[in-house]
């Protein structure tokens, strides 16, 4: 079962302020994700901003897929997407501990690493659908006239 799972989705405003961050526990657990887990993803997502910044000049116009931003711990991989309005969508995928460094076991958890495939469990562009869906959902939310944009620090700097 090396099926990669999305473990976290984050939306970052154009001012690099977080709009929303949602974690998805890889194991079905009754209790909500602990604050420390959420915080960990906060930190990880924050670090991806570097990649956005460094790759932005290389991007041609209209290309919003940033692909793999970087992988963390051989388990998590962060993929990025930049909308036209500067909103960044980051999806952190748990590739299921496939990186089998000797002795590197431990925290992998659910996907117990039988798949010997090297580090990347997600092919290039495979996440485009996910990003598009996320962007559509975001647009739908923003278009809601009753939604007060920027309450969460998105609107103002």
């Amino acid at each position: 079962m090396s099926t990669p799972k999305i473990s976290c989705i984050a939306l970052i405003g154009r001012n690099n302020s977080p709009l929303h961050l949602q974690t998805f526990p890889s194991q079905p657990q009754s209790q909500p994700p602990s604050p420390s887990t959420t915080l960990k993803y906060h930190f990880l997502t924050h670090a991806t901003l570097d990649v956005f910044q460094s790759r932005l000049p290389l991007k041609s116009n209209g290309d919003s897929d940033f692909g793999l931003l970087y992988s963390i711990d051989e388990e998590l991989a962060a993929y990025g997407w930049l909308t036209n309005t500067g909103v960044k969508i980051v999806v952190v995928v748990d590739v299921g501990g496939a990186g089998a460094v000797a002795g590197g076991g431990g925290a992998g958890g659910g996907g117990g690493g039988a798949g010997g495939g090297g580090g990347l469990g997600v092919k290039d562009g495979e996440l485009k659908g996910v990003f598009r869906a996320l962007q559509t959902a975001y647009i739908r939310l923003v278009c809601n006239p009753f939604y007060e944009l920027g309450v969460g620090g998105g609107g103002e700097g």
């Binding site: 690099n16 906060h42 711990d73 103002e156």
Partner: protein, 1421 residues
């Protein structure tokens, strides 16, 4: 500065430990270390080769152009001894003890301590001692120890001359000498190693055996490492130096194993060659060893060899030595195939690893090629290392792996900065020279690649590493990430580092405390007492801590907690600005500061910020670093006050107070934080002191206006009080609003503070921050409870007069630095901030760069818009010391008094001057309860002009309170007339400059007039100190006010019940004539005969005298009622209107007619007064208005006819005249109190007016007196003889100022007949006239008296009466005569409208003789 331990060239540096020896000061020691580090590079060519035959392995002559680089450290690494065989550069080979010659250490002690050092550090090959600042001529101290240490011919004590004497070469020479010895020692070591059959891998079981525990997972744990060290340190004498190479097994016997061992030895020797700088030899050995390792599948050592080769190549490139590219022992092809394909292997730039292809190309020695080659090498190395993990005991330690990766990444990053493997890059890598500012011409290698690469060095379970190792790895990674500009990932790593450090530090504290024997909870004091030296992690005070702070601040910056680094460079300039520019800039700077803080708050991820700050605080607490703790705690409060829970906030506040308390206990006084809330100060206001009223400022005009009609030295007239409220003087209103302080008097400021937090904020002191003249402020402290605002009273005393500008408050909160807070009454306005975002990302956190404005356009353009919130400033004026008066006493009891209506009473009010300043300006003003009502009535529309006049008169002239001024009061008190209106009378002009002297007492008299409706009032005294004559007051002056309220009860006294006027009949008076008539025709004689029947009339006539025609009088009847329950005596006076004088209102009253009566309580009495009838030139004059603001058109709301209007005007004017001539006073018989009788209640009906008035044209009919024929028996009564020719004289008097064309009519009639009796009685037969009874006369000029005579004969006895009337012929529009002199009719106003309608509408007039002439005809006997 110490060399970078994670530089790529680190394996080529030889480690030396510098230790202090003997007594030496810390600062001296650091300076010596710095000197040593300045010459840490030794060219091999300069080193004297050792002549000992068996120690020439590392002879410097082998590669003279090579160089040996010392890594001079001051810390000793005991943790990695198990790696020293694998990576020999980790070993410390040289101990340099540093002694200070100026401390005059005993040489004996020094040498003994040096011996101890040898035991402490047995693994070092050479222990030497440098005696700094020793005289150059005295090598004696070095001689003696050498003699004592027999057998040691090496240099042990080396004198180093003082810095100014020793030139740089001398230091280098010493280092060369040391190197020479060291090289020979190293040779010995190498020989020993070469003798070994093999060398164990660092993680092999044999190697582990040296350690106590065999568990692989526990090998890194700190106690184990410590234990190992302790054992080594403990074996003082017994353990030989060579013992450190323990675990050299001889178990393996097979050929393969022997080959493997040989290869390993080769590699170690090669490492040593690399260390001593003989790079070509090292390269050769590495290649050789690598080949062997490759052939024997010794992956670990193979990788090691390849790594060494890479370093050798880099150094060779740097040395610019031509060399043959060796055949690099790449792993074999099939091995490569089994290797997991790494993404970098498929890079197009990298040629596929081909063992045969690389070496023979000559151009491969170019730096670019080497650069590429290095990349390939690394891949291979990493693969090899990874693969080595498959063999038990042969895997690479994580620390080595990580460091390798980091070293290489650093090289890559340096290459990235310098744009290639050039000299700058290599200088940095090898010598640690600082990098030039990045030019970054190429973007190869990609930053992302470097980032990916360095992240491979991240140890997957970080917890598996020791704290120290993890610190090294993480700091290395973050430094690389920092170089390539990934600030956020760097921050992520730094945070990991911080997270690791915290438990480590705490544990270290615990361990340290345990060693010292202190409970760890004893905490801060035990650790920070550095003298105990218990903590292995005890940081130095100076640089180390600042380094930590820098690190943490950088971390915070990356998360947007602090503004970007750009702010640091700007802050001094901003400070300069603050000093140099004016206050406006300062205030806007304060605003900009607030806005900047607010923007940085809005930036970034709140959740991360809070967490990072918590980490920073925790680290600082673990250190312990008080400044840091305070700094980050306050920053946390500043950043996320609203996001923190109550408990968290409480905890933070406790942290602050605890830290400050601990620091104070330790005697660190300057541990203070910055207060976190910029909006602490919400408002500063000047409070009005209830007792000490602030002075009111007045402009000079007010003073001058007051004086305009009096001489400048005279006091201000009460009647023209400038301080009475005037709604049109807006300026005065504004002036009152301006707060004014008085020099030398404490003023109260209300300071509003806010505390939006969940804990108490303890404000130690609040001081006003004011510019201008001196202000002495009393400091106030206060504790603000959670979540509220608090108002504090701060008292300040101005020292000088002038102006003060309060710009804020200096507030010191407990634990915080005292700082100035500007006054922000309003909050931030988000809408005004620019919403256009030009920068984002981390750059947005950087402070904005001010765009340079060119001077030309700068002058034209408008000033920059004011930023919100605008700090409030309090502009205050401090005036010279002002007097302060209080009411000391009054003559009233309980400040209440009773007066009767019309009564005037005087009471005293005594002021005491509390200050030392004289009062030289004192103005009384009064308010009473009647004023308001009258004002209100005045405001009503629909008042007739007469009523308005009456009201205004009451308001202006009949004041309830009047200041009785000094001397004048005395005569006024007993005089019958007490005319308060006469303020203008000149006796006030005396020079009374000082009203109340300083600290003195003065009494003033105030007169109260009983008015109906008066219930209460107040005496207001405006006073001030001018100090100069009034006319010299230049700008403004200030007054204070003291108010004394008075309650007044007014009781009714004499009421005027009814008034009537009756014509004065001459008959009545001349009844006496009838009595005296018996005496014959004696004419009218003296008055005492005439008076008679009634007492009143008798008195009346007596007083009146007979100097005037009685017809000029009429009688005024007054019904007066005594409403007071005591008997009152009344006295009415009448004066002759001609005797009155406009200058002296009192004239004419003396000796005038009066009537007296005593009225019992509740009784009514009638008083009869003869009043002279009044002639008024123009009674239809418009009714004037007293008030200044004359209304232009008085439109009556009720429609009155012209006739009514005329009547009311006439009534008004005649009433005024009457009131001017009559007055009354009452007196209480028992007590003697007296007062005026109010007569203004008189209303005149038209009939009364007719009675009073004297006609314009007087018609008087009389009979010309002829002796024996005519006798006058009364004022208008004649006794004539019948049948005689007599003359009837009609006198016409024109009293007007115009010409009248009269038509005279004479109307004779029989007396005592009915209306038409005369006709019936056939008058013509009894009374004959010689002429026409109606005749037109010549025009009667103004003032002309004309006598018209007509003859007549009375034909029979009887009584006749003749009346006359004058009718005005021709007047009105045709008026030829109207044009001449008749000033009041037809006069047009300036706008062409007739001034008065009423005057125009007066029609033709007819005047009738007032009294008929009675003719009594008798026959002559």
């Amino acid at each position: 500065m110490s060399l970078d331990t994670l530089s790529y060239a680190t394996p080529s540096r030889i480690k030396a430990l510098i230790l202090p020896l003997g007594r030496i000061k810390r600062s001296r020691f650091s300076s010596f270390v710095t000197r040593l580090r300045g010459s840490n590079i030794v060219r091999l060519g300069d080193v004297t080769p050792d002549s000992t035959p068996n120690r020439t392995l590392f002879s410097p002559q082998g590669f003279p152009s090579g160089q040996l680089i010392y890594d001079l450290t001051v810390s000793f690494d005991r943790e990695h001894e198990y790696l020293e065989s694998f990576e020999p550069y980790r070993r410390t080979y040289l101990i340099i003890a540093v002694a200070d010659h100026t401390e005059s250490n005993d040489p004996e002690v020094l040498s003994q301590q040096l011996e101890e050092l040898k035991f402490l550090y047995p693994r070092a090959l050479y222990h030497t001692c440098l005696v700094f600042d020793s005289p150059p001529i005295a090598p004696d101290p070095t001689e003696s120890p050498r003699s004592k240490n027999a057998g040691e011919e090496r240099l042990v004590f080396i004198p180093v001359p003082a810095k100014r004497e020793s030139r740089s070469p001398s230091m280098r020479t010493i280092m060369c000498d040391i190197t020479s010895v060291l090289l020979s020692e190293l040779s010995g070591l190498a020989r020993t190693i070469q003798a070994f059959p093999t060398i164990d891998s660092p993680l092999s079981s044999e190697n582990q055996a040296a350690s106590a525990s065999g568990g692989r997972d526990h090998r890194m744990s700190m106690p184990v490492g410590l234990g190992a060290n302790l054992t080594v340190a403990g074996n003082t004498g017994a353990a030989s130096k060579r013992m450190t190479m323990t675990g050299f097994g001889s178990a393996s016997v097979s050929e393969r194993t022997r080959n493997k061992g040989k290869g390993r030895v080769n590699i170690v020797i090669a490492s040593l060659y690399l260390l001593v700088g003989r790079v070509p030899d090292a390269l050769k050995e590495f290649v050789e060893g690598g080949n062997i390792a490759k052939n024997n599948n010794d992956h670990l050592w193979h990788g090691k060899a390849l790594e060494g080769i890479g370093i050798c190549l880099a150094i060779l490139v740097h040395l610019k030595v031509d060399f043959q590219m060796p055949l690099i022992p790449y792993p074999t092809v099939e091995v490569t195939k089994t290797t997991k394909s790494s993404p970098s292997n498929s890079k197009p730039v990298t040629p596929s690893p081909d063992p045969g292809g690389v070496p023979d190309t000559a151009l491969s020695t170019s730096p670019a090629k080497i650069n590429e080659l290095l990349g390939e090498l690394l891949e291979t190395i990493l693969n090899l290392y990874t693969r080595s993990a498959n063999f038990a005991g042969e895997s690479i330690p994580q620390i080595c792996f990580s460091e390798t990766v980091i070293r290489f990444s650093k090289l890559r990053a340096t290459t990235y900065i310098t744009g290639g493997l050039n000299d700058e890059c290599l200088d940095h890598v090898i010598f640690g020279k600082p990098l030039p500012p990045g030019k970054n011409s190429k973007i190869i290698p990609y930053r992302a690649e470097i980032s990916t690469l360095v992240m491979r060095g991240y140890p997957s379970p970080l917890e598996s590493l020791m704290v120290l190792d993890a610190t090294r790895v993480l700091s290395g990674i973050s430094s690389v990430l920092g170089i390539i500009g990934s600030r956020r990932r760097k921050a992520l790593m730094t945070r990991e580092l911080v997270k690791i450090l915290i438990p480590g530090l705490i544990q270290a504290r615990v361990v340290g405390a345990a060693e010292v024997g202190v409970h760890p909870a004893a905490g801060l004091s035990a650790i920070s007492g550095g003298a105990l030296g218990g903590s292995p992690l005890d940081l130095g005070e100076g640089d180390a801590e600042s380094g930590v702070m820098e690190l943490l601040e950088d971390l915070c910056r990356a998360y947007g907690v602090l503004p970007g680094r750009g702010g640091d460079s700007e802050s001094p300039s901003a400070a300069n600005k603050k000093e140099s520019r004016n206050e406006g800039i300062v205030s806007s700077l304060a605003t900009a500061e607030v806005i900047a803080e607010q923007e940085i708050r809005a930036f970034g991820w709140p959740a991360l910020k809070i967490h990072v700050l918590r980490n920073c605080t925790a680290l600082c607490e673990a250190l312990p670093d008080f400044h840091g703790v305070l700094r980050f705690t306050t920053q946390l409060l500043r950043t996320a006050d609203a996001d923190l829970t109550k408990e968290e906030q409480m905890r933070l506040s406790t942290t602050i107070s605890r830290t400050v308390g601990a620091a104070r206990k330790l005697g660190l006084p300057n541990v203070e934080a910055d207060y976190w809330d910029q909006f602490l100060l919400r408002d500063v206001e000047v409070m009005e002191n209830s007792m000490w009223r602030p002075p009111i400022s007045h402009s000079k005009n007010e003073l001058m206006d007051a004086d305009s009609d009096t001489s400048p030295s005279a006091p201000i007239e009460v009647d023209k009080n400038p301080f009475i409220y005037n709604p049109f003087l807006k300026k005065t209103e504004a002036a009152v609003a301006e707060p004014v302080l008085v020099k030398g008097e404490a003023a109260e400021f209300r300071v509003t503070l806010q505390n939006p937090f969940e804990f108490d904020v303890e404000v130690e002191s609040i001081t006003l921050d004011a510019t201008g003249v001196g202000l002495e402020v009393q400091k106030v402290g206060v504790v603000i409870n959670p979540y509220r605002t608090y108002q504090v009273a701060v008292y300040a005393t101005p020292q000088q007069s002038g102006s003060i500008k309060v710009t804020g408050c200096k507030i010191k909160v407990f634990g915080c630095r005292e700082r100035t807070f500007p006054i922000f009454t309003e909050g931030l306005d988000n809408r005004e901030r620019d919403t256009k975002r030009k920068r984002y990302g981390l750059k947005a956190a950087d402070p904005k760069v001010e765009r340079p404005v060119s001077t030309v356009s700068g002058r034209l353009s408008k000033p920059p818009p004011q930023l919100r919130p605008i700090p409030k400033n309090l502009d205050l004026t401090v005036v010279e010391s002002q007097p302060l008066l209080v009411v000391k006493s009054t003559s009233l009891s309980q400040s209440a008094l009773m007066v009767l209506e019309g009564e005037r009473r005087v009471f005293n009010i005594t002021f005491k001057n509390l200050s030392g300043t004289d009062v030289d300006l004192l103005v009384f003003s009064f308010r009473d309860s009647t004023t308001g009502r009258i004002q209100q009535a005045l405001g009503d529309k629909g008042n007739s002009p007469a009523e308005m006049y009456e009201l205004e008169l009451m308001l202006a002239k009949k004041r309830a309170f009047v200041w009785h001024r000094g001397n004048k009061a005395t005569p006024g008190a007993n005089g019958t007339s007490n005319n308060s209106d006469g303020g203008g009378s000149g006796d006030g002009a005396g020079d009374r400059a000082v009203f109340v002297p300083g600290h003195g007492v003065a009494t003033f008299e105030v007169e109260v007039l009983g008015k109906p409706g008066l219930t209460h009032g107040s005496v207001q005294a405006d006073y001030g100190h001018l100090g100069i004559p009034r006319n010299e007051v230049t700008d403004r002056f200030y007054t204070r006010q003291v108010v004394f309220p008075v309650t007044v009860t007014v009781n009714a006294s004499i009421e005027l019940a009814r008034v009537d006027f009756v014509p004065f009949s001459t008959d009545l008076q001349f009844d006496s004539f009838n009595n005296t008539q018996m005496n014959g025709v004696g004419g009218l004689k003296d008055e005492q005969e005439g008076v008679g029947q009634k007492g009143q009339f008798k008195e009346l006539f007596r007083r009146m005298g007979l100097k005037d025609d009685p017809a000029q009088y009429c009688l005024m009847l007054l019904d007066l009622r005594n409403a007071w329950p005591q008997a009152l005596k009344i006295r009415m006076n009448v004066r002759d209107p001609f005797s009155k004088n406009s200058e002296d209102p009192e004239s004419g009253w003396e000796g005038s007619f009066y009537a007296e009566d005593a009225l019992q309580a509740g009784h009514t009495s009638r008083v009869i007064l003869p009043i002279k009838r009044i002639f008024l030139q123009n009674p239809s004059h418009p009714i004037p208005s007293l008030s200044a603001n004359q209304r232009q058109f008085v439109v009556s709301t009720t429609k009155v006819s012209v006739e009514q209007e005329r009547q009311s005007r006439e009534s008004f004017w005649y009433r005024e005249e009457v009131l001017d001539c009559v007055r009354g006073r009452w007196e209480e018989i028992s007590t003697g109190r007296s007062g005026d009788i109010e007569l203004r209640g008189i209303r005149l009906s038209p009939r009364m007016v007719e009675t009073i008035r004297i006609e314009d044209i007087g018609v008087d009919v009389s009979v010309k007196q002829v002796e024996e024929q005519v006798r006058k028996i009364g004022p208008a009564k004649y006794l004539v003889v019948t049948d005689n020719f007599l003359t009837l004289v009609t006198t016409l008097t024109n009293r007007t100022t115009r010409t009248v064309i009269p038509l005279l009519r004479l109307l004779p009639a029989l007396r005592n007949q009915g209306a038409n009796g005369g006709v019936a009685m056939d008058l013509t037969r009894r009374f004959a006239f010689n002429g026409l009874l109606q005749q037109s006369l010549r025009p009667l000029e103004a003032g002309e008296v004309r006598v018209v005579e007509i003859g007549f004969v009375v034909l029979c006895k009887g009584e006749f009466e003749i009346s006359a009337s004058v009718e005005e012929v021709r007047r009105g529009g045709s008026g030829r005569d109207g044009a001449d002199g008749d000033g009041h009719e037809g006069v047009l106003g300036p706008d062409g409208i007739p001034i008065d309608v009423v005057a125009k509408m007066i029609g033709k007039k007819t005047w009738v003789s007032r009294e008929m002439c009675v003719v009594v005809a008798r026959d002559l006997e």
